[in-house]
Amino acid sequence: MLNLGLSVLPLARFQFEMTTIFHFFFVPMSIGLVLVVAIMETLYVIKKDPMYKTMTKFWGRIFLLSFAVGVVTGLIQEFQFGMNWSEYSRFMGDIFGAPLAIEALLAFFMESTFIGVWMFTWDKLKPAWHALTIWLVFLGSSISALWILAANSFMQHPVGYKINAATGHVQMTSFSALLKNQQLWYEFSHVIFGAFITGAFIVAGLSAIMLFRNKSPKFFRKSMRIGLIIGLFACVGSFLSGDMQTQYLIKEQPMKFAATEGIYKNTDNPAPWTVFQITNEKDHKGEFKIEVPYMLSVLSYHKLSGSVTGMDQTNKALHKKYNKKFGKNMNYNLPVNTLFFAFRIMSAGFGALAGLAILGLWFSRKKKDTILKQKWLTLLLGIATFGPFIINSCGWLVTELGRDPWVVYGLLPIAAAVSPSTSATSVLFTNIVYFLLFTTLGFFMIMYAKHFLFEGPEGLGDKTNYDLEDPFSKEAFEK
């Protein structure tokens, strides 16, 4: 067969990274958007203002597009474990299969059944019942995130298992331990708040683009404010859960933590925080450093003292711990530059979003609404629509690349997980097709979403005038 000098492992890894990142564009987007849409429909049920109904349908259409792409790219994931990572599937089946099957039975059925009901029963169900169906979609998609992360958390931090002496595979000994895994609850809350941020800022950002263009300002101002309020709450949640996850990381995966901070040698006490450095991964040195004293101690331990263990020491410890089982040649070094910058882009991007949310809410406040005049702000918010996608991907990269060289932490190296029977040519071929497919799907999805957006509420047949009221008009006085 054609030999291109490529081996299966890097190709299969690339495929997993590509397909999960693309899938993970749409998953947080769908979970976040369905929350915003459900809140809008609930507002309609409570306030009975038809504008909220139009709003629900309007953002619902963008949600449906995202949901469609999210579902189909999720199919790839389920097949991929068996196709590219059959040794992993054999090794992990006893643990991984259960959450995956429960995810399907409990979550996938709920979201896909009720989304079908929601789409087609606007006229048939009473508004409150109809709103309930979209909340069930939200519940289903959130539960789905919980179960898939239960499997992921085991890979990050194995619990409730033993190694089967005959097969060498992991075997579940406690199902409840799988769910009580601390890693799961930190990871789940951080991911779910990240999803809320994504949906909220897509609604807010796209609304801001329309405000920038001065189209249906009343409609989009309200949409933007709903998005920003949800976004701001989610930012707080994301910050708190991220902080807890960091505390946990220092204890459980010191290598990952040191790599995101670019620390090779144990730090001084108190530890300074490196804002910026170019890491020389060969000589284990940071260059062009900018440091803030005390800051890393504060971030890591919430106090003004305490040093952080560097990668060199952790590396030795890992060799000592695992050499007997996995040999001396395991490479525990991580792609430090990638992790370092991914973590900083995530944190800085997050800060920028939170700041923009506060500004957006301030300038569109009821007492003195000048949002239409703040072109700079609506422009920035419009650009911020894309922020969460970058931030989510960065967070995901830190979590997953930081687990190197393990696929299941401390139990199974990535190299031992790949399918022995697939050829590099096949995986190369599927990589190329997936890439073309994702480009196509992404292109159409963005094109259609843009079209919906620019049509505005009129595209749904809503002929209401959504211009802002002139404060000196007759109607304004009568109110």
Binding site: G97, F109, M172
Partner: protein
């Protein structure tokens, strides 16, 4: 083999049956858009009958895969990595089918809308065909090594039996889709659906006869399970005849029960024929038994508890979603809905 291992083997089979019965109808409706409908509105009307349901139906495939991963992981790993490219093409077709509904509504031009309907049709043709190939490939003796890895050659994937298997599942999906359309529409379309099903049933008999022969040459079903295999083969032909008569005499409910039973009997034939193995190797020492590929007893107990609790709840709302939206759609009514700006 323990009782729970047997139970989960059966559950996986049952999930595949439900998947084929439900989503098979969706594939059939997709195919029927080119055979039964003559214009864009009629095509949309046909797709409207499955609009709220296809996504949920597809979840049965995901659940079958998940159940396989959870209860018989060795089977899942060997099968999915072994038939790599075949499953890849199934995936691509499922992806295109999945986005085609939403994208054909969202497309900006008439051309775009029509284009996505073509995408739907083509993927609905390929998915059952490729799955039929997979189902008939996986029952043949395969080159499996001591580690359970399958190293397939082109012939292991494309061979007379697998092509017949592909044709068979595609044809039954089409019958199922036509029978479903007959139940869910009103007027001429309803009438034509039954006529078309009646006529197309003639394809089934030669395919079935050829499968009976190919099973002899390409599998060892007759050696290992002679009686059961013969019983299921006779049942397959009997159910086919019943289905055709029901379609010809406009007994719509009987017709869909017959085509659904056809799916059920086919899957039962496959699962009984394989038993007690999940994969059969050229070298008999490497064949994989159910008990060798299974999860631990503890995991199986957990999974069984989960199934017993969750399945009834899930089935309750799943069935409700069909019942609450069950009505016959006529062309006139559908046109009125379209004029009122209902997009779906």
């Amino acid at each position: 083999m323990s009782f729970l291992q047997l139970l989960w083997y059966a559950v996986i089979g049952l999930l595949f049956i439900i998947f084929l019965v439900l989503d098979g109808a969706d594939f059939g409706v997709g195919m029927a858009t080119r055979f039964l409908a003559s214009n864009y509105t009629e095509r949309k009307l046909l797709l409207r009958t499955i609009g709220p349901h296809w996504d949920g139906n597809e979840v049965f495939l995901v659940t079958a895969g998940g159940a396989m991963f959870a209860s018989l992981p060795g089977w899942y790993a060997s099968l999915f990595s072994g038939f790599y490219l075949l499953l890849f093409f199934v995936l691509i077709a499922l992806i295109f089918r999945g986005v085609s509904f939403e994208f054909s509504d969202a497309a900006l031009t008439e051309k775009g809308k029509r284009g996505w309907l073509w995408v739907n049709f083509i993927s609905c043709l390929f998915i059952p065909f490729l799955l039929g190939m997979l189902f008939t490939d996986m029952i043949q003796p395969l080159p499996i090594d001591a580690g359970g890895n399958i190293f397939v050659s082109f012939y292991n994937v494309v061979n007379p039996l697998s092509i017949l298997g592909g044709l068979c599942i595609t044809a039954v999906s089409l019958y199922q889709g036509l029978n479903y359309i007959a139940l869910r529409t009103e007027g001429l379309i309803r009438y034509h659906a039954s006529r078309l099903a009646d006529n197309l049933y003639w394809i089934a008999y030669p395919v079935e006869v050829l499968i009976v022969i190919a099973l002899y040459f390409q599998t060892n079903f007759y050696e290992r399970h002679l009686v059961a295999t013969l019983v299921f083969l006779v049942l397959i032909v009997a159910v086919t005849v019943w289905g055709q008569i029901a379609a010809a005499t406009d007994k719509e409910i009987q017709a869909i029960i017959a085509s659904s039973s056809l799916f059920a009997v086919i899957v039962m034939l496959i699962f009984t024929g394989l038993f007690p193995y999940v994969l059969i190797a050229n070298n008999p020492a490497h064949s994989l038994l159910i008990k060798e590929v299974s999860s631990s007893p503890y995991t199986l107990v957990i999974m069984t508890i989960v199934l017993v609790i969750l399945l009834p709840i899930m089935l309750a709302y799943f069935i409700w979603s069909y019942v609450s939206q069950w009505h016959r759609i006529s062309l006139e009514e559908f046109k009125k809905d379209l004029d009122n700006g209902e997009t779906y």
